[in-house]
Each structure stands twice: as structure tokens, then as C-alpha cells.
Subunit: 355 residues, 2 copies
DNA sequence: CTGTTAGCGCCTTCAC
DNA sequence: GTGAAGGCGCTAACAG
């Protein structure tokens, strides 16, 4: 069932040359070192015939580079977001010839250390450390053993690590801008209070998004019509808050829901109350979860760019690794760059022109 | 930034013994070979002080075992299912001290070969080969180079590979049984026709599920009230089919939707037509996608056991690997076992008692 | 232009 | 009980 591996020396022998010659040919450095065309051809032919594949362990041991990355996230069971980030990461890695080990900690610090150790043992060239919920956290010291990029993580203190983050502030601004520009004046916030300092539960993400919203409204001389925090950003909360809003009889032009699940609950509440979207009230949201397009009417929402985040973090990491290698590992590199990834708007049918 | 690795010989030197002695101690074989307690202690102490971590590449090169697996799936962008399978796989792997490389092919055969090669190059001990849509496919010959388990794949021809599959037939039976036992007689199928031989689009899964449904109904002397195939198993199709059903004025006790997204569309159609779930008609479904619990009323559905599938496939693979190692790689092993994983019922509010 | 030599870090006989 | 020697497969000097 399991065939034996073919080694370089077998190829060399088959081709009638020395192992080192075969190595050079197969590494593509034959011309540079002016090895005869016939020898090259014989080596390549032998390699093909025997189905030779270089042993990456061995090469890694020798060169110190394994073209292997680690991706460690804390993704909580409830969050479906993890998948796309990982997908983006392995895509970007693949495009540059890297493979990736994936690990999940479920928020367990000990498990995180164990995973990082296990990856370190296997000589990964670097690590992407990710959270599914943007929030502050302390960075494991283990991360300093190898090149590391922080994905969707705001570190507690100072770091000299590269960070990749969604541009929540800008998305908040754009959301408010969109509603204002389409004539909405009485805007209700679903999911957060009106104080960025206490914008539980996904602290930083929510706070920055909120700040963006409030800033634009202030620039327009407007204030938020109401702002209701939610303990969980799930449909039942969206339903509850929206129902309460409707029952209070407050006039509303638009609901700005802080994620799609809240918006789903809001839709249900509006529907049961006989309020039409978007004719009576517009709904705008964040995330672009799969069901957003299937709600009726389709939900207009700012997509959380999971895939782009995963891709970008990985590209930054590989840049870091290869730069370090090329520079002969001199110095600390550029240090703490922060890369912000925009949240693109998915325009569907839930926001109308007013006035 | 990147500290140098500590090697075994450094530990040995620090402890004042030979490298081989240190190796034995750290491998836990010291007692067996009667190495002095003081030497053992010195080695352990030195290893701790220096923060020694064995280099898995080197050990792998020497022993042939890397405690590393590959997970290759074809997961299509639309499918959110992939994530949980991968999660199950890395969980199970972690529990037994393995790390896993994750790769996705997007259905591209060349990319699949490349990924399998890249994993082979890195000396993975074995591979889980997965599809997100259960269907027939040919197995890449590359898979025969290393221990392989097929996850959610029905191979075209014969295989001697271990397979892990969801028990679709049984889920179909249980679904029909549930509806019949709760007094439903006029049952409409949403998403498939009434001929298992043409149960497009997710051929085998749908066909087996359908067969299970039809078998139970036949045993009860019943027939399906109607059965409408859908090109795509998405909400718009569920909406369309259900709307058509309502407009035809056919009496209905229950809708059996072949996945939750179809059910979501069915809900929307029923709601817009003023038909109440479950008072007027029950809805039963398959998958347990995240939104199933958030629909109103909560959707009763058979959960597609993604996580359990990933876990089980990985456990089977590791069994295979370790058995082969222990047996000194003798013979082909047990060959083509097929393991069926049940789809557990998530009871919510969409199915009522009738009669 | 090609071959020989010397490790990368670890494990495993086999002498001492 | 312990240490020296060899080799897993590959690459990178350095001779020739």
C-alpha cells in the first residue's frame, strides 16, 4: 500500500551522476553553475521516471526553512467566521508554495501554548495568530520565538508584531454616511449603546464601529434616535430590541444593526408587526453572513472581510519570513505595522431612498 | 526576535553526558536501560533550564514518523460545512499528538495533486481526503502512496480505503418515521423528485436519504403527496416550490425539505401565504445550519454531523497509521471498512402532532 | 563542469 | 551505565 520513497541518490545513480549534481539540477541552479545539458537531461529524465519527490524534512533540516506556516485561532464554536479566514490563509500560502498547520484553542491558554510548541517543534517558518472576535488580549511569549503576525487581534500592550485588522472605524463611518446620504434622519442603533467606551460585547470592534457612526452623525449635526445594547448579538436579541422599539411607537427611518444576526431578528420583529422593509424602515447591517442575501428583502450589509484578512495576514507573514531570510536575518525588521482591511458594502434591497 | 533553537547535544553538554544518553532519558527509556538517577536528573534539569524542544524534523527524518496528517477537501465556496469537519479533524488529531496540514482544492484536480504532493514531500503520516458534497468521484492515485481515509466520499469504483460517511439512508428513514408517527399523512418533498435514481444535485446523499424516506412510507402503505426537485438547494428554490404548492391548493400535512436552506425558503413562502408553521403544516429538514434555530418557529432538523465526521475520519486514520507502525508495516491491513455516522435529530418547534 | 566531503539534529546499535 | 559511530536525505562548500 505504501510505496517506498525515492531518494535523491537513487536518482543520481540512475542518471549516473553524483548526488550533489542531481541536487543542483533539480533545484534549478544548473545553468548558473554550468552543468552540461546532457547531464541535466539525464537527471530530469531519471527523476521523472522514478517519480522522485524531494524530502522536505531533510531539506528543512539542512536549510532551516520548511515552507510551512502555522495558523492558530481561538475560534469559538458559535462563530462560523473562522472557516473563511483559514481558507484565505491557506490560499495565500499555497500561492507562494507554503503549507499550513491549523490549530484551534477554543480560548484555552494552555492549549494555545501546546499548539505553538508543536508547531515550533515542526520548524514552521512563522505563525499567524488569530482571534475570531476582535478584542484585546495578551500575546503568548512563545510567539517571540518565530516570525508572527497578529490577525484580528488588538494586543493589550505594545507589540512590535505586524497586525492585520478589519477597518471597523471606517465601516462605521461609511454606514452612517450611506444612511444620511439616502435621506435617513431618525436612525436607531440595534446592539450597542451610544457610548463607545462601553460598547460591549465585542469590545473593540463594536466600539470603533460605533465611533465611526457617531462621528459622521456629529459632523452632520445629527444624533442617534436611540441606541440599545444587546448582551448577545443573536436574532432573539434583535427581535426583542426591535419589538420594543416598535411598541414604543418611536418614529424610525432606519435601523442600523451591528451584525446580521441582530438584523435577522429585527426583520422578524418588523414582519410580525407589519412594518415593511425598506418601504417603512430601512435596515443596514454588518458581516454579510450567508443568510443575508436570503432574507427577504435582501439585507444590505458591510461584509466582514474574513477571507481577505486571512490572505493578507499570511502574505505579510511570508514577506516577513522571506525578507528575514534574504537579509541574512539582520535586525528586527520594520516592526509594528498595522494593516487595515476595508469592509466592502454589499448593496441589496433593505435600504431605500428617503425624502 | 527569533531565538536560536536549543539542540539535544547542548542539553547533553550542559548536563555533562553524551547526546545519546540525553536522548534516552528524554525519550523515557532511561529506566529500561538503567541510567543513573543523578544523570537522569541532570539531563532533565538542563533540558528545562535551556527550554529544550526536540526538533521534530530531525526525529521524523530518522524515524520516518512525523505525527503530522494532511486534510484535503474540495470544499466549494458556498458550503459553510467545511469548517466544522476540519475542526473535528484537528481536534481529534490534537488529542493524539498529531498536527494537521489543511488544504483545499476547490474541485481542481491539478491543485489536489499538487497539495497531496506537497504533503507527501513533508512526510505526513497519512491523509484524510474529504468532499463537502457527498458524491462519487475518482480517487487520485497519489492517495495510494500513504495511508488514506475517505471522508464523505463515495468512490467511483472499488477501493480498499477506509471510508467515513454520514448515514443518509437511516436519516431518511427516521425523518419519514417521525412524520408518520406524529400523524402526518400528506407529506410533500421539497428539493427532490420521487425517483432515487435521479435525485440530483447531491447525487448520492440525496438519493440515499430519499430511498430511506420512500422505504418507510412504503412500509406504512403510504405514498409521497408530491415531490419537486430543485436545481439548487437554496432558499429561492424552496420559496418557489413551496409557493407553487400552496397555489395549487394541494392539501399538506408536512413539508420534508431536503436541507435547511430550502426550508428557509419554504418558511418565507408559507409566511407570505399566511400558512402557519406548525399549526397548518409541519416542516422537517436536514443539516442543522446555524440559522435553523433562529427561524421562527425553530426548525426541527437532522443535523449533518460534520464535526463527528471529521473526528471519526481522523481517528480511523491514526488507528491505521499506528497499527501499521506497530505491525512493522506487514500486509495491507483490514481494508475497505465503511463507517456510517448518524444524523442526530434536533427537535425544535416546526413539527406538530396531527390527528 | 563534476564529484567528494561535511554536516543539519536526532536515534540506535554496539563496544567499552 | 555510558559514549562513540553511523546514517536518515539533502544541501553547500570546496576540490579536482
Amino acid at each position: 500500500m505504501v510505496r517506498k520513497r525515492v531518494t535523491l541518490s537513487q536518482v543520481a545513480q540512475e542518471a549516473g551522476v553524483a548526488a550533489s549534481t542531481a541536487s543542483l539540477v533539480l533545484a534549478g541552479r544548473a545553468d548558473e553553475l554550468r552543468i552540461s545539458a546532457t547531464a541535466q537531461e539525464r537527471v530530469r529524465e531519471a527523476a521523472r521516471r522514478l517519480g522522485y519527490r524531494p524530502n522536505a524534512l531533510s531539506a528543512g533540516l539542512r536549510t532551516g526553512s520548511t515552507r510551512t506556516l502555522g495558523f492558530v485561532s481561538d475560534s469559538v464554536a458559535s462563530s462560523q467566521l473562522a472557516g473563511e479566514m483559514i481558507r484565505g490563509a491557506i490560499e495565500a500560502a499555497r500561492a507562494r508554495g507554503y503549507m499550513v498547520f491549523v490549530g484551534e484553542t477554543g480560548g484555552d491558554g494552555q492549549l494555545e501554548r501546546d499548539l505553538l510548541d508543536a508547531m515550533f517543534d515542526r520548524q514552521v517558518d512563522g505563525i499567524v495568530l488569530a482571534t475570531m472576535l476582535t478584542h484585546a488580549r495578551t500575546i503568548p511569549t512563545a510567539a517571540t520565538r518565530m516570525p508572527t503576525v497578529l490577525l484580528n487581534i488588538e494586543p493589550d500592550g505594545d507589540t512590535d508584531l505586524v497586525q492585520v485588522l478589519p477597518d471597523e472605524y471606517r465601516a462605521g463611518r461609511e454606514a452612517a454616511r450611506l444612511l444620511v446620504d439616502t435621506g435617513h434622519r431618525r436612525i436607531h442603533l440595534i446592539g450597542v449603546g451610544d457610548d463607545p467606551a462601553h460598547a460591549h460585547p465585542f469590545a473593540l470592534a463594536a466600539a470603533q464601529r460605533l465611533r465611526g457612526v457617531l462621528d459622521v452623525l456629529a459632523e452632520e449635526g445629527l444624533r442617534v434616535a436611540s441606541a440599545q445594547p444587546a448582551g448577545q448579538w443573536l436574532p432573539p436579541e434583535g427581535f426583542r430590541l426591535t419589538t420594543a422599539l416598535v411598541e414604543r411607537g418611536e418614529p424610525a427611518d432606519a435601523l442600523l444593526c451591528f451584525n446580521d444576526r441582530l438584523a435577522m431578528g429585527a426583520y422578524q420583529a418588523l414582519q410580525e408587526a407589519g412594518v415593511r422593509v425598506p418601504d417603512d424602515v430601512s435596515v443596514l447591517s454588518f458581516d454579510d453572513t450567508p443568510f443575508a442575501r436570503w432574507l427577504r428583502p435582501g439585507l444590505t450589509t458591510f461584509a466582514f472581510p474574513q477571507r481577505a484578512l486571512g490572505r493578507r495576514a499570511t502574505d505579510e507573514l511570508i514577506d516577513l519570513i522571506e525578507r528575514a531570510r534574504d537579509d541574512g536575518d539582520e535586525g528586527a525588521g520594520p516592526g509594528a505595522a498595522v494593516h487595515l482591511i476595508p469592509l466592502p458594502l454589499r448593496t441589496r434591497e433593505s435600504v431605500a431612498e428617503r425624502g
